[in-house]
């Protein structure tokens, strides 16, 4: 009946387990998944991370002048799917978790890329860095000039080429 007094024994042997955080260090293991950091040098703005990101914390925006990769920490669930997907290994992992800020802007990260305009229609469609990277990877396998053509125009271009090839000029 007095077995409940055994809690005192536990208290005496275990002692205090809470910490005076933030005055004492916090506890995270080496495996903890924290904030991600995108390396602006390695990143080419291909958007693979944007497509896999479950909470849509990563978004990409293409406009006339530039391509903007946006990372909104407020939405991030720290799953690191982007890290796994990134073909450039441009996303660095950390175990940071103290993310509160005073200014909303501080939870937004942006990477800006210069954009290539389509040789045919003049529409901005992809970051320059991505084109350079593709060039580097595929080398001579692909017609270099086609890289500067937007997907829509390329479709038309290819169709025209095929027609020309099999049906002759016409």
């Amino acid at each position: 009946m007095v077995k409940f007094l055994k809690v005192l024994k536990a208290s005496a042997t275990v002692g205090t387990v809470t910490r005076r955080y933030p005055f004492e260090s916090s506890l995270v293991t080496s495996e903890f998944r924290g904030l991600i950091e995108i390396d602006p040098v390695k990143c080419v703005g291909c958007g693979a991370c944007v497509r896999i990101c479950p909470p849509k914390a990563l978004t990409i925006e293409v406009n006339e002048k530039e391509t903007i990769l946006k990372y909104f920490i407020g939405r991030c669930i720290f799953c690191w799917m982007c890290v796994q997907t990134c073909p450039q290994k441009a996303i660095k992992t950390t175990n940071k978790f103290e993310l509160s800020v005073f200014n909303l802007k501080d939870v937004m990260r942006e990477l800006v890329f210069r954009t290539v305009t389509c040789k045919v229609c003049g529409r901005a469609f992809t970051p320059v860095k991505l084109v350079v990277e593709i060039n580097k990877r595929v080398g001579d396998l692909y017609m270099h000039t086609d890289i500067y053509v937007c997907p829509d125009c390329r479709q038309a271009l290819t169709a025209r080429r095929l027609l020309t090839k099999y049906l002759g000029r016409g």
Binding site: M1, V2, K3, F4, K6, V7, K9, A10, V14, V17, L27, V28, T29, S30, E31, F32, R33, I52, C53, P54, P55, I77, F78, C79, W80, M81, Q84
Partner: protein, 567 residues
């Protein structure tokens, strides 16, 4: 061939018996198709649905596991209802498929079976609200959707997208504020809240002299439309969403989902994946039960016990972080595999931590059960007899506290559970103490299971399949024994993501029995009784609002508890 598969030595199995009975009732041309090893789909005409339901309900160890309404207008010009009945003894799922021609769907009525199968009550109401299915022979009312939701818009139908819904319906906070003349809009959440678990819920207790004479529950405060959202996401994104259905036992949802997809598409996952998933599932059970025990102690005023339990739980949380990378919402599950391996070093660390936890936990359990007030207030309160538990198709520790040894880890085995031996603690008293004891014993079993798994875990590094191809319109079921009871996901596959994804959480089944438990208890014991099913309102509210009929007891509403709006 069907029969050959199922006949074991010793004659006819229950499955064969049930299937023959269905053929007798619906005619010899009824289509019976084994879509997976242990899942059989039976097409039933709506006229004979009630007869079949009656026959199934009268069978022993058979219960309604879930019911899914699916809009398949674009595929086969119909809306379909899938009633999933489980045959516990053989671990076989019988899915009754009822077809509603899309053209007639506005007027077509399906006979209600909620009077025969008690658990079907909410499922029918949900199908009515979200899919516009009409049921005859019962009272239908708007439940899931808010009162000012536009008529004739059923959000789960395929002809409306998430974006359209967002445009169509926005809570009118700003307008309301301007109406009353407020210059700036500040949204202050006032009630409803849980007396204990701090989740949005609303109980009305009718009290006479400190005794509860009746109870009413209104939920559905946090309906998030997750199923609809899931239909717009890719296969590998959903596990992360599924994990966020519940803040305490999220991993069970991601495993259920991935299992459902894997079953539908016949993906064979590596053995090590099964091991890792099972280990994490059991680790989650330990932390969830410790959390619950702490809350229970707190509800009974024993705060030292609360701190004690949560101190032990902290070790498990840190261990989870070591194995998965996160304390909660582990995020390591994908269709076809897991993302994080468990190496030798981690195995050793886990074993060592579990040993400490076992010792510490044993001391805690002894202390908790011997505190005079805790013991006294748990025993004999919130009684739920076994018969009621069976009638309501209850699951998990709630069912096992009332003498039903229902546990999907054994009955419909999955993961790596068939590699280990473990027992299922069952108590027959049906009171709060019985449910507490079930959870206390289960923690020992879980530690035991993890230790066995760690001893036999395959040493290879293959933890996911290399690639898999989605095929449209395949049906798969995935179930997991969550800390709160069975979770069951049903997935109908599409090309890029699931075509229909149905989640059924344990609280959805168990909450129906709470008013029965509450009648006659002291007001002061109401919180622990409500908490004794370990309710998870976020899980449940994902899909439905529940209204318990108030019964005919003459009552004196002395106080209305949890006054909405804090008057």
């Amino acid at each position: 061939m069907v029969k050959q598969l199922l006949i074991k030595e010793g004659g006819e199995t229950q499955t064969v018996k049930v299937l023959n009975r269905i053929k007798d009732l619906c005619g010899p041309h009824t289509s019976i198709e084994f879509i997976h090893d242990k899942t059989v789909k039976v097409s039933v005409k709506s006229e004979c649905l009630r007869k079949v339901a009656e026959a199934l309900q009268s069978e022993e160890d058979v219960y309604l596991r879930t019911m899914v309404a699916s809009d398949e207008k674009l595929i086969n010009d119909s809306i379909k209802l899938y009633y999933v009945f489980g045959l516990d003894r053989e671990g076989v799922n019988v899915i009754l498929e009822v077809k509603i021609p899309a053209a007639l769907s506005k007027h077509y009525e399906i006979p209600s079976i909620s009077d025969v199968v008690k658990a079907c009550d909410w499922y029918e109401l949900e199908a009515h609200d979200l899919m516009g299915v009409k049921f005859s022979g019962r009272f239908l009312k708007r439940l899931v959707l808010p009162d000012d939701w536009p008529e004739e818009i059923h959000p789960l139908k395929k002809d409306i997208t998430t974006e359209e819904i967002k445009k169509l319906y926005q809570p009118q906070v700003r307008e309301k504020a301007l109406e009353v003349g407020a210059e700036e809009v500040a949204l202050i959440p006032v009630g409803p809240y849980h007396p204990a678990l701090h989740e949005p819920e609303y109980f009305e207790l009718y009290i006479k002299e400190e005794k509860v004479v009746d109870a009413r529950y209104v939920g559905f405060m946090v309906h998030r439309g997750i199923e609809k959202l899931g239909e717009s996401m890719g296969y590998d994104q959903i596990p992360f969403l599924a994990e966020r259905i519940c803040g305490i036992c999220g991993f069970v949802h991601s495993v259920s989902y991935t299992q459902a997809v894997e079953e539908a598409l016949n993906i064979e996952v590596p053995e090590k994946t099964q091991y890792i998933r099972t280990i994490i599932l059991e680790l989650e059970r330990i932390h969830s039960h410790l959390l619950w025990l702490g809350i229970a102690a707190h509800l009974l005023g024993y705060d030292t016990g609360f701190m004690y339990a949560w101190r032990i739980r902290e070790k498990v949380m840190v261990l989870s972080e070591l194995l998965t990378g996160s304390r909660k919402t582990y995020g390591i599950n994908l269709v076809g595999g897991v993302r994080k391996d468990i190496n030798k070093e981690k195995i050793e660390k886990t074993k060592q931590t579990l040993k400490e936890v076992w010792k510490d936990y044993k001391g805690f359990a002894e202390v908790l059960l011997n505190v005079p007030q805790v013991r006294r207030r748990l025993s004999g309160t919130g009684v739920l007899p076994g018969g009621e538990a069976r009638a309501y198709s209850l699951v998990g520790p709630t069912a096992r506290g009332s003498g039903l040894s229902r546990d999907v880890r054994k009955d419909y085995t999955y993961g790596a559970y068939h590699f280990v031996s473990f027992s299922i603690p069952t108590y027959s008293e049906g009171d709060n103490l019985a449910r507490t004891l079930v959870r206390i014993d289960e923690v020992y079993e879980s530690i035991n299971i993890i230790e066995q798994l760690l001893d036999t875990i395959p040493s290879g590094s293959e933890i996911k399949v290399n690639s898999w191809e989605p095929q449209p319109m395949k049906l798969g079921l995935g179930n997991v024994e969550a800390p709160r009871g069975e979770v069951i996901h049903l997935v109908i596959t599409g090309m890029y993501g699931p075509y229909r994804w149905r989640v059924r959480s344990p609280t959805y089944q168990n909450l129906q029995a709470v008013p029965t438990m509450l009648r006659g208890v002291d007001l002061a014991d109401a919180p622990i009784t409500i908490a004794s099913i370990d309710p998870c309102f976020s899980c449940t509210d994902r899909a439905i609002k529940i209204n318990i009929k108030t019964g005919k007891i003459e009552r004196v509403p002395l106080i209305k508890l949890s006054v909405k709006g804090g008057s």
